[in-house]
Symmetry: C2
Subunit: 356 residues, 2 copies
């Protein structure tokens, strides 16, 4: 129940053991195509270029940026947590002129500030669900104000756990990770890129490994697949299976399960007298940040509480990062873990450890 | 029995299903440390910075180059196959002045040509075992002549299947992939980097995801681990297990198994009247390139033969690439697959299909 990786679905674990196939085997290519089709449903998009990038969520972030950012491009980045910071760092390494729009950690970004930060940004980028703070940013409102800019959205902690509507909102590139609400081990970064972004694609990005122009010839490959790199076959089997579980349950039902378990957790924490970091109207269900109380037993620090939960109950929760380091815990209800029974157990264990 | 991915060891498949742990869980960090220690044995190195990069072999190639190549750097690249070409492409994207040293596909590189191609190269890079041609290049001879340059070596198809002696030879950076002679699914790129290379490391490489300066703070992390990106936990379990199988068997014994099965295959192919591409003194055992005979039955092309092997016998072999496309097959004896029993089966199946 940390901020990810979450425990994978049993069907995902089984899929990891499927007999390995070659990356050009017709039977594997069918699984790959079906995986991309399933990702389109979860992203809410018809984008042809929708695929798992062969790396973790941060590789998805880098792929999103290196393929559309050119040296000197003004790139507006919303920063209200660790992953907004990371977007700045990666955009700067591409030579972008980064225009930061900050909000305090724990508060949402202001969509108007983002849209008015620069007269003609090439890209506006923000994080949908900040894993570092538990805050939701209003992607739809930013999309409505994006103007001529491309909108790049980090959906690492939102995809599969709450509504993501790439086409309806007007998101040009979205990326995610497998290890949060999709219930698959870490290792792949689902990504989708619309026609507007493809029309402005960098011809020869600094990264060959993440060059979507080349990768698309393997993944889309109508009339023949051009080998780019060896696909991580077993992990794609796992993602295929995880998306299958999710779509069998139903996208709306999966979102509802994340919502109900997260809200139950938050009520339970408040009932224990603990304070939540994120404001109610922008509080994620799947990732909860809660303040560490001042009166910990036995003279413990916050890390001791996490150690007790892990050693005595086999339950992992995460520590705070950045300005919240030492001051907050991060508790995930994501993917297979997002069930009220797990919340009951965690609340009981935490209550026992805290003596509350 | 294609050019990779090879079928994983059963112990590796089992390890993929180990209960997932967080990337900062002490129990996982132990597995990670042990994986790095095992990689040191297989690479033949004491390098502290020895780790699995979170991507496939090509991510290892990109990581090796982006961390030491600066714009304008003269980089000498040996090219006698597809992966030498790829090194040129990635080095150019870093702004390097690439000095190519070519040999015909199917022939080895000339170490003297490599060392005399430029008066003061920043980097000399070559492929140890060319997956596209089945040729071994003399890394030790190039290392002996490298002068002040850093030597970067691709060991994707050699590591675990034949001698790789990073420290003895004097290789500064070597990288590999998991899906060849290590008997693990594709998805990770083992990499090792020596002190000489670390002293010349690019401070802020174009790639954040592959920035070894940052990654080392998580992987080496004495006195505390600094989170960089979420480690691909299940794949690291798999690599840990694959290296365990290999070291239990013994490094020299594993090399010998690759050698004997590969040579048996080559004798069998020649006995069938087929011609081998690579010259005998630089012919890999683990990856064999064989010319397609002109007199295929039923008016078949070479792809029809591969399709028959796959459909009738569940055996995959690879087609040729580059100048060898349509003219050669590539047959792997790598990792768990490198056993004489498999060679017997393949030779029987091929003989049946070819009517020879």
């Amino acid at each position: 129940m940390g901020p990810g990786p979450s425990n994978p679905y049993p069907e995902v674990v089984a899929a990891l053991t499927r007999p390995l196939l070659g990356h050009l085997d017709p039977a594997f290519l069918e699984v790959l195509d079906e995986t991309c089709a399933r990702l389109r449903v979860v992203f809410g998009t018809d984008n042809g270029l929708t695929l798992p990038i062969s790396g973790t969520g941060s590789a998805g972030m880098e792929a999103a940026l290196v393929n559309v950012v050119r040296p000197g491009d003004p790139v507006v980045v919303g920063v209200n947590g660790l992953f907004g910071e990371r977007i700045c760092e990666i955009a700067q390494r591409q030579g972008a002129t980064v225009v930061r729009v900050d909000a305090p950690w724990g508060e949402p970004l202001d969509p108007d500030e983002l849209s008015s930060a620069h007269p003609a940004p090439a890209v506006i980028a923000l994080v949908h669900a900040e894993t570092s703070t538990g805050v939701r940013n209003d992607v739809d409102a930013v999309a409505a104000r994006k103007g001529d800019a491309l909108l790049v959205v980090d959906t690492v902690t939102s995809l599969g756990g709450m509504e993501v509507a790439v086409d309806t909102w007007g998101v040009d590139i979205a990326y995610s990770g497998t290890q949060k609400c999709l219930g698959v081990p870490p290792g792949l970064a689902p990504l989708t890129m619309g026609e507007r972004a493809r029309a402005r694609q960098v011809e020869r990005p600094a990264s060959w490994y993440l060059d979507l122009g080349l990768i698309s010839r393997y993944v889309e490959g109508e009339g023949g697949r051009t080998y780019h790199h060896t696909a991580p076959v077993s992990m794609i089997f796992a993602l295929h299976a995880g998306l299958g579980v999710l779509l069998d349950e139903g996208l709306a039902q999966t979102w509802a399960r994340h919502e109900s378990s997260g809200r139950m957790l938050q009520h339970g924490l408040e009932a224990m007298g603990l304070g939540l970091v994120a404001p109610k109207d922008h509080r994620l269900a799947q990732l909860t940040t809660v303040y560490v109380p001042e009166d910990l037993p036995n003279g413990w620090g916050e890390a001791d509480v996490r150690r007790e939960l892990l050693q005595r109950f086999d339950i992992e929760i995460g520590g705070g990062v950045g300005p919240l380091a030492g001051r907050a815990w991060r508790i995930g209800c994501m993917g297979h873990v997002a069930r009220t029974a797990n919340v009951t157990l965690l609340l009981a264990a935490l209550s026992e450890v805290l003596g509350r």
